[in-house]
């Protein structure tokens, strides 16, 4: 029991990165755009979210950095690079009408390339690891809830012993849920993803909605990468450690049946699977095989969701299909 509580407590940290990645992709896919480039976008968010506060700290001098500004800069930088990637994806698929699958794959390659390049360049510039001072590191992974909350049995450890990003993610998920179900803009966005012909005939600007949703979605996704670097990876850029997270986020979107609220618990669950090998040791079972568990679970989930074909748990009806007005 105790081990499980510890596991899920730690899972929140890894899960938060996944949560942002998943939420961003849900928003993107609601517009009918299937951006498979999440991996690349999270990578870029991961490095630029680190470089921004790193530059800031360098500029003001170590010790003088305001943690709040540093966090804000990290968020803004990650969001901006993700939004740019979303804009690029939209330009190629919406404006130039290219295949979404291949464009997404290209984005994955391009994004990881850009991130590695930027990371390496910065490393050469400063002649060592790209990282932050300990004060800022603490600020990024600040488990700021009061102790009496943290000390509540079970719940305290899982829910209240988390960094600020965890709560931001939950607020974002709720906000996105309300946006999609209770506002007109949300209704219109869903219409664009479900039936662009209908939305177009109703005078909704398909291109605008697709661009904005994909850009904001990309931005949120990129914040996921930033959260990973700044919390789980301890504010240090290690190229390989993010590998696979973005793809898991894409899989989680299906697992969540495109509902933002489901992203909260499912990302924590997957966070737990990712680190289970560290927390719950199974004797005589090789660690390397243990590490593939989340991927195996993802496959099982994919298969099960495809076997039970429930009508209102389907993807947006036009997902992955480009819309051209004059070709209907």
């Amino acid at each position: 029991m105790n081990a499980l509580v510890l596991l899920f407590g730690a899972a929140g940290a890894y899960g938060t990165a996944l949560m942002f990645g998943t939420l961003g992709e849900i928003l993107t896919e609601k517009s009918g755009n299937m951006n498979l480039g999440v991996e690349g976008i999270m990578y870029m968010g991961g490095i630029f979210g680190l470089i921004a506060p790193n530059l800031y700290e360098q500029a003001v001098g170590e010790g003088n950095a305001n943690p709040f500004v540093a966090i804000l800069l990290a968020i803004v930088a990650a969001f901006a690079v993700g939004a740019l990637a979303g804009a690029l994806f939209s330009f190629i698929t919406v404006t130039l009408r290219a295949n979404q699958n291949v464009t997404g794959l290209a984005m994955a390659t391009f994004g990881t390339g850009v991130a590695k390049f930027a990371g390496e360049l910065r490393r050469l510039q400063i002649g060592g690891y790209v990282t932050l001072s300990n004060d800022l590191k603490f600020a990024f992974d600040n488990k700021f809830m009061p102790d009496f909350l943290k000390n509540i049995p079970i719940v305290g450890r899982i829910i209240f012993n988390q960094s600020e990003f965890f709560y931001m993610g939950i607020i974002l998920a709720i906000a996105m849920h309300l946006f999609l179900t209770k506002t007109k803009t949300g209704l219109y966005l869903r219409a664009v993803g479900e039936s662009p012909v209908t939305a177009d005939a109703a005078g909704i600007n398909i291109t605008k909605y697709k661009y904005i949703a994909t850009m904001v979605g990309g931005g949120i996704t990129a914040i996921g990468g930033m959260v990973y670097t700044m919390t789980t990876a301890g504010c240090v850029w290690i190229e390989a450690s993010l590998s696979g997270t973005g793809w898991l986020a894409v899989a989680l979107v299906i697992f969540c049946t495109w509902r933002p609220l489901n992203a909260i618990w499912s990302s924590i669950l997957f966070g737990a699977l990712m680190i289970m090998y560290l927390r719950i040791i199974v004797p005589f079972f090789p660690t390397e095989l243990y590490k593939i568990l989340p991927y195996v679970v993802t496959i099982i989930v994919l298969v099960i969701t495809s076997m039970r074909n429930i009508k209102d748990k389907q993807p947006p009806a036009s997902l992955g299909v480009n819309y051209f007005r004059e070709e209907r």
Binding site: L36, L88, F91, I92, T95, L96, R97, A98, N99, N101, V102, T103, L105, A106, M107, A108, T109, F110, G111, T112, G113, V114, K116, F117, E120, L121, L124, G244, W247, V250, A251, I254, P286, E288, L289, K291, I292, Y295, V296, T298, I299, L302, V303, S306, M307, E326, E327
Partner: protein, 364 residues
């Protein structure tokens, strides 16, 4: 409403058919644009882009040794693009070539590790390894193919997850059952009779992939199987209407695709590396998607595209040593290349009509 805005500034119209020369001009133009955009990261690294491109090309082609290394990089890219082509033609988004290569490599290595010392003949060992590699890759591809055919399970994610599992298995093998000296996490080099011989200084895999180019071309364009794949790629309903067993064709195509990837995996362990490690595929499975798509699934065009990407890859490694521009510039440039090629199809399929030119276009 003003009179000026009566017609939009730019409108789109579908083209009927474009002059093939123009089509190629646009495609080549897009490559040029990509190379120009590729200068941006080099400039950001504070280096001269022209000099850098020069270094990349000379680093890939200026000496026989360099050329050999470039060819060595091109072999798996080409082989794997050939493997992916039938899947993509069928609109089956197999992005699991990485895992299929790795599985093929594992199966081939099994033969080398367990049987090579018992069999004298190099030829028999190599053939056995090749068959094992094909089997491993085919098996790994068949699993997602089966679920796609049966339950329409999303193949993109399924094949992708299979990559991580395959790589995980190698990590376990190299630190466990197949580990050489304890603690090294390295599998010992294969014996000579499990290694592919060199021809013109490069392991003979290049001959194998060139043969595959011809075979895949014939398969895709002249066989009943190839026809089925093309019909399914166009319309599933038409395929069913014509009496095709869509599920079986999908599984069969995945088996074939996986087998080719598996053979590539065998060539990598038996030829390029001489042993198995978790980085055996090293991104080839992904880069080959770029190769397949840029060549519009045409086998012969793949030779050229695979060579270009291999030159960029090898050249960027040289660039890193000489000018300390990070080698990941290769990924950026190939990403940009792909973006540009994807985007340029638009200008081949559509024409833009500007407001002023309206009357002319109507007459034409």
């Amino acid at each position: 409403m003003t009179n000026e805005s009566k017609t939009p500034l730019i409108r789109l119209a579908k083209r009927d058919a474009m002059d093939p020369k123009k089509v190629w001009a646009i495609r080549i133009g897009s490559i040029v644009v990509a190379l120009i955009l590729g200068m941006i990261p080099i400039l950001m690294a504070g280096k001269n882009p022209f000099q850098s491109y020069g270094i990349m090309i000379s680093g890939a082609l200026s000496k026989p040794g360099y050329i050999r290394q470039t060819v060595k990089k091109a072999i798996p890219l080409l082989g794997c693009a050939l493997a992916i082509a039938p899947c993509f033609k069928m609109k089956f988004w197999n992005i699991g070539a990485e895992g299929q290569i790795t599985m093929g490599a594992i199966f081939a290595s099994f033969i080398s590790i367990n049987l090579a010392s018992h069999i004298q003949s190099r030829f028999i060992v190599l053939v056995l390894m090749m068959l094992a590699g094909a089997l491993g890759g085919a098996l790994w591809a068949f699993i997602p193919g089966f679920f796609k055919a049966k339950y329409n399970t999303n193949e993109t994610l399924f094949t992708l997850m299979m990559n991580y599992i395959a790589i995980g298995i190698v990590r376990w093998l190299q630190g466990g059952p197949w580990e050489g000296r304890p603690g090294t996490q390295i599998i010992p080099m294969f014996p000579d009779n499990a290694r592919l011989p060199n021809v013109f200084g490069v392991y003979c895999g290049w001959i194998i992939v060139l043969v595959l180019v011809v075979l895949v071309h014939i398969y895709m364009n002249y066989t009943k199987h190839g026809y089925e794949v093309a019909v399914i790629g166009d319309s599933l309903n038409t395929a069913r209407y014509a009496g095709m067993n869509v599920g079986w064709v999908m599984m069969r195509t995945m088996l074939l695709s996986g087998a080719i990837s598996g053979v590539v995996g065998w060539m990598l362990v038996s030829g390029a590396n001489g042993t198995l490690n978790s980085d055996v595929a090293g991104g080839v499975g992904f880069t080959s998607i770029t190769v397949a798509w840029l060549s519009q699934l045409n086998s012969f065009a793949m030779i050229i595209i695979a060579s270009i990407l291999a030159i960029i890859d090898k050249g960027s490694a040289t660039l890193q040593t000489k000018l300390s521009v990070p080698a990941s510039v290769a990924e950026i440039v190939s990403g940009i290349l792909l973006f540009c090629m994807l985007g340029c199809e638009f200008f081949i399929n559509y024409k833009l009509i500007f407001r002023g030119k309206k009357d002319k276009e109507v007459q034409a």
